[in-house]
Symmetry: C2
Subunit: 246 residues, 2 copies
């Protein structure tokens, strides 16, 4: 992972409402205080939309986390087909292991800000191992969901399922309510995530709008009937109590 040239970006701080803080606390409660997350100033790495953050097979050092923006694990086929295998949201760590070669290409779906949680100021480098292990398990969970979605669901079910996953993950870092969030994905990115064409995504979206299931204007999503969406997508209902909102 190399730094892009340009003017040095401003150093940033992470407060308690920051998605990075919230995600870290989900993964390993109490860790933020232990590693002095709030007292440090981080030198962010900025990546422009559509640029690669990590190339497939590239060794990654540091424990980078998404401070802002969306990214994705992507697979490219020889003939130009593309599959988004997993979406990364604000707060998410990038790596699954320390000092390992990455098992996929990561691209920025929007302009992205990254910070490295690792560094010599840590009293013990192993402090972050716990976070990575739990993050890996969460990733496995989402990949299992994705295989079921892509393998056995039709377009409208896949769409509903993805929206509910995104809502729950964003809600966990304070970026969504039960029914509303911002989703900065184009219909083509949605298509690459859902295993469909952008034309069919558009038509499915029209259908969901007409059935009063969702609203989507600008980049703002509103789930008009979250229960019905969960039913049709076979999505597990609110099992875990929702995390406090901002």
């Amino acid at each position: 992972m190399s730094m892009t040239p340009g003017p040095p970006p401003p150093r940033v701080t992470i407060d308690r409402s920051d998605p990075v803080h919230r995600r870290l606390e989900q993964l390993s409660p109490g860790l933020a205080a232990t590693i002095g997350l709030h007292s440090r100033r981080y030198s962010p790495r900025i990546v422009r939309s559509r640029r690669e953050i990590v190339h497939d097979g590239e060794p990654v050092s540091g424990v980078w986390a998404l401070r802002a923006g969306w990214a994705a694990l992507v697979r490219h086929f020889a003939d130009g087909r593309r599959q988004i295998e997993h979406v990364l949201l604000p707060g998410d760590p990038l790596p699954l292991e320390r000092e390992a070669t990455y098992p996929a290409t990561i691209v920025a779906l929007t302009p992205v800000t990254l910070i490295d949680l690792d560094g010599p100021w840590l009293s013990d480098p192993a402090l972050l191992d716990d976070v990575l292990r739990r993050h890996t398990m969460a990733t496995v969970h989402h990949l299992l969901d994705a295989t079921a979605r892509l393998g056995r669901q039709v377009a409208i079910e896949r769409f509903a399922h993805l929206l509910l996953e995104l809502r729950d993950r964003l809600r966990g870092v304070g970026l969504a309510t039960d029914t509303h969030f911002r989703m900065p994905l184009t219909q083509e990115m949605l298509a690459d995530t859902l295993g469909l064409t952008s034309v069919h995504v558009n038509r499915t979206l029209q259908m969901m709008r007409q059935q009063q299931l969702i609203e989507l204007e600008g980049r703002e999503v509103t789930l008009l009937q979250p229960g019905e969406l969960a039913r049709m997508a076979d999505y597990p209902s609110p099992a875990v109590p929702p995390v406090a909102m901002r």
Copy 2:
């Protein structure tokens, strides 16, 4: 994970040609000797075909590995649809973490024999952590492949891709040559893995036979044109040198 009633199964030993030994050595070279894998006698757990080995969300203790038979991570939908999310082969460990609740249901695709690598005789319980971490990373790798396969490939490409994955994994534990292995899956199981119906799997299979791509009789698979299969499936060519055969 509870033991089924019945007569106590015979205790078994693991020799150097055993898939469990080979897989363990792949994941953590030298570990088999360290934990005395060959000197111990294990009490196997037997599971009949189509029975559940682990139920979704169930806490699992012990580090079980597949000594013989095939199993699968499965998702069931409310209306009866089923997706096989990941296939487990001889030698594969079951759990991704110690003492954790399992993130999916595991069913036996064939009669299965399991052994528990964990136990009080281990000098250090943490010895197995390394194995589990690497096994988890391998699983992530396969799940990423599965999402690309299901999301963006057509039936014949999916089939070719799956066959190559199975060949490579089986070859790693001495159960396949470059072109041949035993695949004890019914066409319906293949359909649930590939996100297709069994009828369409059958027709795709006919097509591949007619094009001289593969042979499949009994449960024996022969890849007649592995290079062509890899090309059409966008499957990475022999990058890693193959492991020694039995």
